[in-house]
Symmetry: C2
Subunit: 205 residues, 2 copies
Amino acid sequence: MHHLRILTGLTKVWRITILPKLPEILELRTVAQSRLFTIESMKLRFSNGVERLYERLPKRGREAVIVVAINQKNELILIREYLAGFHKYELNLPKGTVDPGESYEEAANRELKEEAGFGAKKLDYLREITLAPGHMGFSLHVILARELFPESLPGDEPEPMEVEQYPFEEADDLVSSVFISESRSIAAIKIAEVFLSRESKNSRV
Amino acid sequence: MHHLRILTGLTKVWRITILPKLPEILELRTVAQSRLFTIESMKLRFSNGVERLYERLPKRGREAVIVVAINQKNELILIREYLAGFHKYELNLPKGTVDPGESYEEAANRELKEEAGFGAKKLDYLREITLAPGHMGFSLHVILARELFPESLPGDEPEPMEVEQYPFEEADDLVSSVFISESRSIAAIKIAEVFLSRESKNSRV
């Protein structure tokens, strides 16, 4: 019964994935560029003939990871960081870019050491998530880090980050609270919850 | 026992929210501007004296909403839209900007009619979520829409969107699948799940 339901929902969705025809890119050019960002203008013709001018921020630079780190007391590791977009501090998950030659898991482990002072003996790749794919080419790889041990590495942060250990089973309170707002962190927590609940179901079979 | 645990987790987090001192903004200027985006350069001095040059995309224009719409069969309303950031189609939640004079709930209802062909008799404001607050001033208001009825409004989309109705109780499969990738949609689904589970618990008391 459970398997049948999974089949129904995702199979229905899968069926329609073969239908749409991508719009034609009539023109693509860089309209602005800064140290970190590029803005592209995109002239598109959709398959129904309608033409539209889009703008997007294409991906630039390295891949990035976001880390759902859970310690042996089943606590989620949160950092408190300065958020320039809103000029405020908020709780967040550790994240950062992948260095040349690093795997996603290695990058996650290094960022966790730099930002939160923990290493992980167990790292699982969960999935890739996007930010605002309608307008931006940015994405992050979600890594689950477990079996933590204290280990710090110097990072490139302007100031040491406060680290908070929050009961993972109370994640519902956290994602409904004003202490955290970032979609990517809330999405990564949800994805980790699904992974952990399936892992625990499988281990009981 | 349950209430005690809620108190413990969030109270611990609350305690530290009074500590950090915001960095001083030494300089803030627009370095690039396009039709849709502005890029600002920000020279900051953190409370430990370290100075850093940041870049951010400040908020521009109107507030925006994202709609978790659930029909009477407990199905989630998904749209299939073109995503310029990755030049591909993907499933997503309806979203859009708030028109002058509209409430968030009214904007959500209108976007739902324009993008998915449904109106809602019951609309709940859930919370505000941010995108990538470390670098961007963008946010969205999450609205839960229920008691749906068929009603279409002409929108500003370049092509009609395919609408998919997906079993909400199978959301775990969806957020783990390749059919949807956007953090904001996955986060909004999680936030709606928490709201609905609490509503259902409260109604049983």
